[in-house]
Subunit: 236 residues, 2 copies
Amino acid sequence: MSEGPPAGPKGWAEIAEEARRRIYVRDWAPGQVIPSEEALAVEFGVARATVNRALRALAEEGWVERRRRAGTRVAERPVRRATFSIPLIRDEVEQLGRGYRYAMQSCEEVDTPGEIATRLAMQGEPRVLRITALHRGDGWAYAWEERWINPGVVPEARGVDWRIESPNEWLLAQVPYTEVAVSVGAEAASEEVAGAFLCEPGTPLLSLERTTWSGQWGVTFVRLSYAPGHRMWSRM
Amino acid sequence: MSEGPPAGPKGWAEIAEEARRRIYVRDWAPGQVIPSEEALAVEFGVARATVNRALRALAEEGWVERRRRAGTRVAERPVRRATFSIPLIRDEVEQLGRGYRYAMQSCEEVDTPGEIATRLAMQGEPRVLRITALHRGDGWAYAWEERWINPGVVPEARGVDWRIESPNEWLLAQVPYTEVAVSVGAEAASEEVAGAFLCEPGTPLLSLERTTWSGQWGVTFVRLSYAPGHRMWSRM
DNA sequence: TAGTGGTCTAGACCACCAG
DNA sequence: TGGTGGTCTAGACCACTAT
């Protein structure tokens, strides 16, 4: 009973899948060097570029580490990466099937606090725009926004009516940005924020801070405080 | 005064950089379709595969959206992705230059709480291992771990001395996993955890929850509570 | 149906670095 | 210094989908 040609992996995705399987069953053990691209290309009957594509994907996923001359080895400590997508809050809310509403809470131009000056690397611009706003989904408070804008970089921001414009969406449309730094942490709800969320002051809230740069210029810093119990999810 | 040939972008990385620049200066405006790979290949004097590599990178970064036939267009709403690396806590602590220490706090086999049974999709295995532990850096509490292990998938876990073995490191070495779900949120410190962190009960803590799967089997669920003020950082 | 991106090939040269 | 991965090329076929 002869069998047809073995249905081996065909494209780079299938080859990557086969490689994951071999790692999974310890066929390729942690720390071990796996065969070279050339050897695998021969084994699978594909071009080396195809194997390269597959192994590059595995490396990005953290399964293997690759170095010239040293070859490709299975990661001992797979440093997993969790990727969270950070859409506009409007999109986030609407994707939940809820009606989105934005409401400015306050808007003022103030002397730049030291912390903000540092974060935005501000020089010579002693004043900064501070806006607070509430994002609602179906009437319920979804996230509280505390926004700082550097008018030295975006002078037009001074003329905007923030009761109508949502800072994030306005800035996105106006200012190109090159770099973004994000962090997440836990904070206690202030009196003001607790009022919006109808919770006790001191309630733990997930906070997301984001600093946005346009070249070397700090454009804006925002702290988003999500409703109590909110979690950010990632699937790897 | 004739000039030499213009020093255009050479490799895929430089072409990607040039494309980012064009998006940045609104040369390619949001929502607009950019030239085809073929056209760009001609413009830059490279093979189409090289342009493809560059644009694929931009798509992964969220700058452009690509669809066959429809072409490549600049994203209207760049859905930014924040990637956090999640190393072993040991590595995390040691990278800060601190001395790492692990200390089990409790270990018991208990009737599976409904929440855990759901998370691990447990069937027929009414008992589960629960371990709590403290991770220290230079003697200071760094993170509190509450770990649940499904002995139906990892029966050997019952025989392990968790005063010595750190669950995460042991599991990593023992059980191959295929899928991981991660979430972050904010929690109030319990009495027990507050004691470890020398803070008031109710203090907001960043919590990271992770469920790990091996095929269709839920292996383990862990909740890490980080010290007050801890933040996770990502640079995009 | 035609045009776009997705993928693959066979070959080539190069950068890097472990031995 | 040789073997490995990183990259590029010129060409080809295919999958998808806007028109």
